[in-house]
Symmetry: C2
Subunit: 594 residues, 2 copies
Amino acid sequence: MTYRAPVRDIRFCLEEIAALDGLKPTGAFPELSSDLTGAILDEAARLANDVLAPINWTGDQQGCTLKDGQVTTPDGFREAYAKFVEGGWQGLQFSADHGGMGLPRALGCALMEMLQSANMAFGLGPMLSFGAIEALIAVGSPEQRSLYLPKIISGEWSATMNLTEPQAGSDVGALRTKAEPNGDGSWAITGQKIYITWGEHDCTDNIIHLVLARTPDGAPGTRGISLFLVPKFIPDEAGAPGERNSVKAIGLEHKMGIHGSPTCTMEFAGARGWLVGEEFKGMAAMFIMMNSARLNVGVQGVGIAERAYQQAYAFALERRQGRALFGEGEGPHAIIDHPDVRRTLALMKGKIEAARAICFHAAVEADFAEHHDDSEEAAWSKRREDLLIPIAKAWSTDVGVEITSMGVQIHGGMGFIEETGAAQHYRDARITPIYEGTNGIQAIDLVGRKLVRDGGKAMAELIEDIRQTVEDCETSSNPELPALAAQLGPACDALEAASKWMLEADEADRLAGATPFLKLAGDVTGGWLLCVGAVAAQRKLKEKEGDLSYARARIAMTRVYADTVLSSAPGLLGDIQTGAAVLFEPGLTMLESA
Amino acid sequence: MTYRAPVRDIRFCLEEIAALDGLKPTGAFPELSSDLTGAILDEAARLANDVLAPINWTGDQQGCTLKDGQVTTPDGFREAYAKFVEGGWQGLQFSADHGGMGLPRALGCALMEMLQSANMAFGLGPMLSFGAIEALIAVGSPEQRSLYLPKIISGEWSATMNLTEPQAGSDVGALRTKAEPNGDGSWAITGQKIYITWGEHDCTDNIIHLVLARTPDGAPGTRGISLFLVPKFIPDEAGAPGERNSVKAIGLEHKMGIHGSPTCTMEFAGARGWLVGEEFKGMAAMFIMMNSARLNVGVQGVGIAERAYQQAYAFALERRQGRALFGEGEGPHAIIDHPDVRRTLALMKGKIEAARAICFHAAVEADFAEHHDDSEEAAWSKRREDLLIPIAKAWSTDVGVEITSMGVQIHGGMGFIEETGAAQHYRDARITPIYEGTNGIQAIDLVGRKLVRDGGKAMAELIEDIRQTVEDCETSSNPELPALAAQLGPACDALEAASKWMLEADEADRLAGATPFLKLAGDVTGGWLLCVGAVAAQRKLKEKEGDLSYARARIAMTRVYADTVLSSAPGLLGDIQTGAAVLFEPGLTMLESA
């Protein structure tokens, strides 16, 4: 059950596929260099491998407890969190002005992947703080920023997002939590929030809650919602945790997975809070947190899949059953020598690399969107980021569920036994398609806001990039690359045809096909980015640069993905175009059993 | 979390798709009639709905305990088992000569589905006894049959299958358990078996273990294996449980799901056993149990999917979030009115019906194979049964995992909370692709024994049947049926092309494509059987026979399956034909992370 952060893969993905180095000319990251990237990744890997991974399974078995409003995290979590703070990791991607390291968020994503692989329940704490920091930077007042940001960025305090209420899940606009002015600039927040990740815990001295609530003049629905900052302890004049605020954890969920992450029901009983950003602009602020959080949840999908993969790979090398066609030596062969097992592992690996590339590409474009001094380039990057976010979130988390399931399967009967650890990944992964907007919501976002509202512009730009890679592969001197183009080309045609259909379809048909459309978009975008990596690998082979066997391996792995996943992509068109009519046919009473 | 057995759907599937009534002319089931089928299903539904379903979640939470070799099952299991015995359900499909009801095994499958839906952990007990009964009927001596069968068929005693050892999972031939002659006709069995379902429990007075072991003259591998009967209590002269045998449970697994089912490590310390069938013919006897067990595990996939579906459907009717395009009334709409949710539910339902039809078709053909007096017809049915078994097992259980996952997703955040119950189905379902031969083993069985060794004959017969249904749909007066043919036709072409490729491929390529081939075979066979049902429904519409709205609903549901699943089937061809070369490419060191 050990974990070794895949530094080589992550670095290749950042540098050769997502073009991290391209950020250098923006001037926003003066210290960025390949050496620094390497050093950061190695250091993060040590934290993940040596500190967080060893307490993953024990944390799952032990879980969190709530007593008298106090949450106790599993053994070792407090100490691990202290090391996380000591390394300054919470501030990796935030400006030095706020006490951070001032590095690209793409590197933040790489760190995040390692945290989530090593210990997803633990990684959720820092992930929520990340989102809150982004919101405070974007819309917090100067006073709020100076009072709270240094403490959250250092990790000394943690932060949460409080959106969901029992009647307001995907429909955030239905929330009922009230905010009433106290007359002194602060507000009294009253209501109950559910599913609050790390809402209460024992790892920090203070917890800063960002809470969506409705003010007395707030209209019904999303337009009347505002964002408030509600500290667990109200900072005193010196900025130290002072008066205990009237917000507390009144329940802890009994969940299928991420047992080490306290999922709290929070009660706000007239708690003092401060408006963050403008009144009624809570949803906009929330979307800032959400974009960051959605990308990071996608990265969770990658992380948990990588963890499951590593465990399955190690097992397949060690477990011996039966004789294989290609195996060497006497007696039973390692099951990795059996074609079906090897196919499963290669597919797992290919999908993980594809999902990682989608997430890191989105992250680098987010960095470009923020820092590029050419406004047209910045706008292009913003469009690409926005288009990729729902794909990164939904496709990567679906892959996370699929791959953790394959990981269980590789283990045979042992996979179902909790002590093996494969089951934990499968249970943990299952939340990722649900939170931060269900994958159904992501699909609707993709076909609505990201495709149709944009007039198909961002998608057309993506398809243009894919076509360029098809051409690069076709004209390569390495005969394996035209074979990639032969799969990527038709897959891209299918994505283009499906996009055109979506742009012309009425709303109901579009919504009915949203989920398979997102799958197609993810299959193709992931495959494209693997091919970008294959082209880079081919260049290295030609120039005899770096580890040539790794470069060859990247091409071979891309072949497997192309032959299995990309080859099936055109077949999704029919599913996408099913339309709403047959689903809403009055005769479909069949849905009712018995 | 209630469950209502889908009697109407099951009956339609048995009678209109699987042609249960066709068994009547064989003379083997003189009492079989549509009225009897209805009465049996209604009575089984009462047991499932009222007795077994209510203790499913509590059984999961409580689990089993082992103390001093004694296993205690969860509260209510003993009482429920007593009702199961009282109803005579264990004997439903076994000949009256042995004390059974003498009904077709297809009805046994229908019962099994209800048991598994209602309470999978409980249902495993009877399922294992079913397999042992089949083996004893087939190869037991007259004395063994008369001594043990009545007790097992009545349910008074239960039975187990003991195959797996730590080093012998998929590779059964690697087992080390020894059997040495005692000189009195009995054998001394020594060894340890793992993953023994219901190996020890408190619901019956005796437990009859069927155990694979190697005799002193047994060759290495599968050829040297024999089957033994090892009772927990050795029956005395009156047939009552006598001397305690030296077999006991020494461990209970801590599993991801089916917590109410005791999964035991069994120690045989020179336990007295009796040879069942001939020495060295243990594998053949095991395959008798396995064929029955594999089909029943497929039925488990159907059952757990149906349970998850019913719960998701009820939730989608009740849960209100946001405004939908087609919803009625003020305020938030039921989420079933959202196209993406409705698509998910319709797809769940379609796949469940398809999987059920595959399993029941296999069961009816198994009945024909056993009872048809025309030997050519019987041989045809046997070929069809054999071809369908791996598909029924693997495709239905993959569907079970997929659908229980969709069931979690429909619930949003609540799906991840254990109290909701959706998570239990997801956890329980995950074992089904693993046990009774992993789904990878099933895929290898399909492309090897069932396709190539048979020269493609059984598959050609299946394709012929599918073509007939394509024609029936094309020529229907109902314009919806040609629309089905438009999807089923190309899907069938793809299955034919893939089968042809498999027959010509070398062994390594065939094994590399086995898993996607099985998926294609399941997608198409399931879709074909739904179309058979649609043709029957159209006949009922035309003749104004029975519930016409149900007939219309069957056609609409088949449309959804055809437009979503069948339309994607041809796209699987590339994946199937990937071949082994790219998987065994020496450069694929990429598989090693870090």
